[in-house]
């Protein structure tokens, strides 16, 4: 007979998302049946979100170490060494489900959460990015979701005063029922002043700071228990509302406190709020925790322990102070007009004890919450291998200029200015290149120096769907390429792995394939993973999103004056392509837009070639020969050329000869390629270098005129292109009378 505490039933356990086996482990570790509070705590700690139970096994495959890695996965954010005693702290996180339910607040609190992960470690946030995936552009819900999400990201980021410098936006019917909102934050700290969740010892005071705790975001399923069922309306779970003003004060107050040497350990309250922050700090320090729930700042009356422990109210932190230093925290937090209270202390019992209204309402061992969290090796299989498609298998279009126009004005390629114009990209006065600038990665100066960080987010779900392993490789390689194209040394990545239901073997197969492909690319490119996040169950009615392992990558530009963008090209300059062009068309943008199909294999990525081609490009940028440089990705060489032409306000005359069909040359998506513009004599010097190093480098065109043309024909007028490219998204968003 399974044992239950009073008032708890098998049904309630199930509603907490715990399986029979999991409940049996709890009984064993507790030595008795858990009460409601303890059950709630186990339930959130062992949820997919907190325990990574389906993914943990595979995440171990990522390379996480390197010369420049100060802190890999496992803390609030990853930390890398950027020289001169400085460190860069960064992470990416999803807020998909909340953003679908309430786009503005969902996206806003996503930004807030990721910023907290970064400043919790002692870093001042200096840049934010976002990777967005919406359903088909003409789906009835899409416009409202786009406008809400974008306003929410801007509303939060603009107010806290962290520039939103870049991102990506895709539209695809695969996201109709499950949009993706992935947010990345990047911060700067002194390498010897990083703060960790670890480091607390017994006998230290625990300080709560930030907003008061309300009944926000307490998981619907866990709330639907007998105890709460017939309670009043106001006990129901509510959407989390972000307060960027409090966040801004929290940033300043925490950074001020961090400069005083009074903190033992610090942790933000993210998912599973007070529960996970308290337990993570206790577990990492190998200690116990005792909290007095009466002292937790509360926004509403009659809150239960269960509610307070599971609340996901935003803008809250938990700080374990060095003994006797509480006053320092109190003084600083009061100066910033934040709610603050000492709510308990650490102990040497290894247990979490909660007191409320004079009673012990929870007393449980901490170790099992982390150590014994379930970890599953879910069945998985790889999708069938798809045949490669090359240009000669695809009908030749009549007019290349018209094709180029269609590709450039397709939803994924059209200008996203309508979005990023709503983001403050310049606050903090260090943004050298952001969404508005022709640069493959955002470039943000390291304050007060001539160094800069290059930052990008990337993922090509089309490829991941066609071939998870190659697609995973490609995603990492493209991020590396985008950093390289600015002249940066790529250092490390963070990721946000968005997939469907892992209990389905084909979805788990996508996950495993992508992770293994990414891991291989990370190893080959010496580009370790230092932080990340997993978002599973992104599916509706059995239809999963395309596999979307988004990557956020950071590199270092040693001298901000030696970098490249893809604008600034002048008439008479030579256009060169780095890398082999064979006309790979499988899973290409061309197939999707022109032939309305997405079949074929993902373009193969030769990582060794990727590395040498990239190193060559970076070397040439630093030598000063490169006027403009752009990676070649979606839509192939012609789309890269079109980007450069638009950014420079000058036409390009492309030249093609040889056996490769012209549409393969123009629109093939072969990997490891870049397009470079240079003055004639520099081009000659580059060709010599390339020959010596055995790098494929080919002259493909000449800058000039006011159109993009191929072999003197197939003209696409630049004015017409610009109008259509810039107009697409505003036209979509300003369309009237259709909702």
């Amino acid at each position: 007979m399974t044992q239950y505490a009073e008032g708890i039933t098998a049904e309630i356990v199930k509603e907490h998302g715990l399986s029979d086996e999991e409940y049996a482990i709890i009984l064993d570790r507790m030595g008795r049946a858990p009460n409601m509070n303890e059950l709630g705590i186990f339930s959130v700690m062992w949820s997919e979100h907190c325990s990574y139970k389906s993914s943990r096994l595979h995440l171990g495959k990522f390379p996480t170490k390197g010369d420049k890695v100060i802190q890999g996965p496992g803390e609030n954010a990853g930390v890398i060494d950027i020289g001169d005693g400085q460190a860069c702290v960064f992470k990416m996180e999803s807020h998909n489900h909340p953003s679908y339910i309430e786009p503005y607040q969902g996206a806003a609190t996503g930004v807030g959460g990721i910023l907290r992960d970064v400043f919790t470690m002692g870093a001042r946030p200096i840049a934010a990015l976002n990777a967005l995936r919406f359903g088909a552009h003409d789906h009835p819900k899409t416009r409202q979701l786009v406008s809400g999400v974008v306003a929410g990201i801007g509303g939060y980021g603009n107010c806290v005063g962290v520039p939103t410098v870049g991102g990506e936006t895709n539209f695809h019917e695969g996201y109709d029922g499950n949009i993706l909102v992935n947010a990345m934050a990047v911060g700067l700290a002194d390498a010897d002043k990083i703060f960790y969740a670890r480091g607390a010892e017994a006998g230290q005071p625990i300080v709560y700071v930030g907003s008061k705790t309300g009944r926000d975001g307490i998981h619907g399923a866990t709330m639907a228990s007998a105890e709460f069922d017939d309670e009043s309306e106001e006990k129901r779970p509510t959407v989390q509302v972000g307060d960027p003003f409090v966040e801004k004060k929290l940033i300043e107050a925490c950074l001020e406190l961090m400069s005083t040497d009074a903190i033992a350990a610090i942790q933000d309250m993210g998912a599973a709020g007070l529960t996970s922050s308290a337990i993570e700090m206790a577990d990492k320090g190998g200690i116990g925790i005792e909290l007095n729930m009466d002292t937790v700042p509360q926004r509403e009356t009659n809150m239960t322990t269960y509610e307070m422990m599971l609340s996901e109210s935003q803008e809250r932190m938990l700080v374990i102070m060095k003994p006797g230093r509480e006053d320092v925290a109190m003084r600083i937090f009061k100066k910033w007009e934040l709610d603050v209270a000492v709510i308990g202390q650490t102990t040497d019992t290894g247990r979490m004890v909660l007191n409320h209204h004079g009673e012990v309402v929870c007393d449980m061992p901490i170790a099992p919450l982390a150590d014994d969290a379930p970890k599953y090796d879910r069945p998985h299989f790889a999708p069938e291998v798809r045949a490669q498609i090359s240009a000669k298998d695809v009908a030749k279009p009549a007019h290349m200029g018209n094709v180029l126009l269609s590709l450039m004005t397709s939803p994924n390629m059209a200008s996203k200015a309508w979005i990023w114009n709503q983001y403050d990209r310049h606050v903090m006065a260090d943004t050298a290149a952001s969404s508005e600038d022709p640069s493959d990665a955002a470039v943000v100066r390291v304050h007060g120096t001539d160094k800069a960080l290059a930052i990008t987010t990337d993922c090509t779900p089309r490829y991941c769907f066609a071939d998870p392993f190659e697609g995973g490789k490609q995603t990492v390689a493209e991020a590396w390429r985008n950093l390289t194209a600015t002249g940066a040394d790529p250092i490390a990545i963070t990721d946000c792995l968005n997939f469907g239901n892992p209990e389905r073997p084909e979805i788990m197969g996508q996950f495993v394939g992508c992770v293994e492909g990414m891991a291989e690319a990370c190893r080959a490119l010496d580009f370790p993973v230092v932080s990340g996040n997993v978002s599973l169950y992104n599916e509706t009615n059995g239809v999963a999103i395309p596999p979307t392992p988004a990557v956020g990558a950071v590199g270092l530009i040693p001298n901000i004056n030696q970098r490249a963008g893809f604008g600034g090209m002048k008439a008479g300059q030579i256009l060169l392509a780095v890398g082999d062009t064979r006309g790979v068309m499988g899973a290409s943008l061309y197939l999707r837009v022109i032939e309305e199909r997405e079949d074929g294999g993902s373009p193969p990525v030769d990582l060794a070639v990727e590395k040498v081609n990239g190193d060559f490009v970076r070397g040439q940028i630093r030598s000063g020969r490169v006027v403009a440089c752009h990676d070649i990705s979606d839509g192939g060489l012609a789309c890269a050329a079109a980007d450069m032409a638009l950014a420079s306000g000058i036409g390009i005359k492309l030249a093609h000869e040889g056996d490769l069909p012209m549409h393969g040359f123009l629109f093939g998506e072969d990997q490891a390629r870049y397009l470079i513009a240079a003055d004639k004599e520099d081009a000659v010097a580059m060709l010599q270098d390339a020959k010596a190093d055995d790098i494929p480098l080919m002259v493909v065109g000449l800058a000039g005129g006011d159109a993009i043309s191929v072999n003197g024909a197939h003209n696409l007028d630049l004015v017409k292109l610009r109008e259509a490219w810039e107009g697409w998204l505003p036209d979509l968003m300003n369309k009237v009378g259709e909702d």
């Binding site: 003003f245 114009n421 709503q422 310049h426 606050v427």
Partner: protein, 220 residues
Amino acid sequence: MKSAVIVFPGSNCDRDAHDALKRVTGQAPAMVWHQDTTLPEGLDFIMIPGGFSYGDYLRCGAMASRSAIMPAVIAHAATGAPILGVCNGFQILAESGLLPGALMRNAGLNFVCEKAPLTVANSNTRFTSAYAGRSDLTIPIAHHDGNYNADEETLERIEGEGQIIFRYGRNPNGSVHDIAGVMNENGNIMGMMPHPERAVDVNHGGTDGLALFESLLGSA
């Protein structure tokens, strides 16, 4: 030149303002906390920076304009010393009644961040003298509530008195008469939505904001 930057909870261009002033004047400005009630001695210039003081809740600049330091700022203004409010700083000065008019939600309702083309409407001021002979500038804007509004009578007056200092080349927010920056009657207080402190560096926003600080330096 001895300068000060007033910092409110939610100010977020305070560091930008600090760095720009330090770069131009060679001397770091004093950072004055909103709860102080006095200003440092001998100030030549006060800057009220951009940001979201008090979250921009209620009305932009409303709560900041009622905070403890403001009486000292208003008293200092009465001595004729120059005061510049940028973005949220402009909103705060308007809310304090130190500048005419009010700033409302952008006509397009969205937040707007762009490098805005501007014209100098009056270069015969202590804020703009170094712009003499230059007309077209590009200075970044980033705001949600920059839609300048004033009643007809006020508009007529400030137009007539040359109190309009900057105008947008392409109106981004619905401001009447394309107004981007205005001055008080005495010519010692100016508010503007564009961010000159974000335009003092080739690697960030260009250098079209430099002349504004140079004008002040020249007049101090």
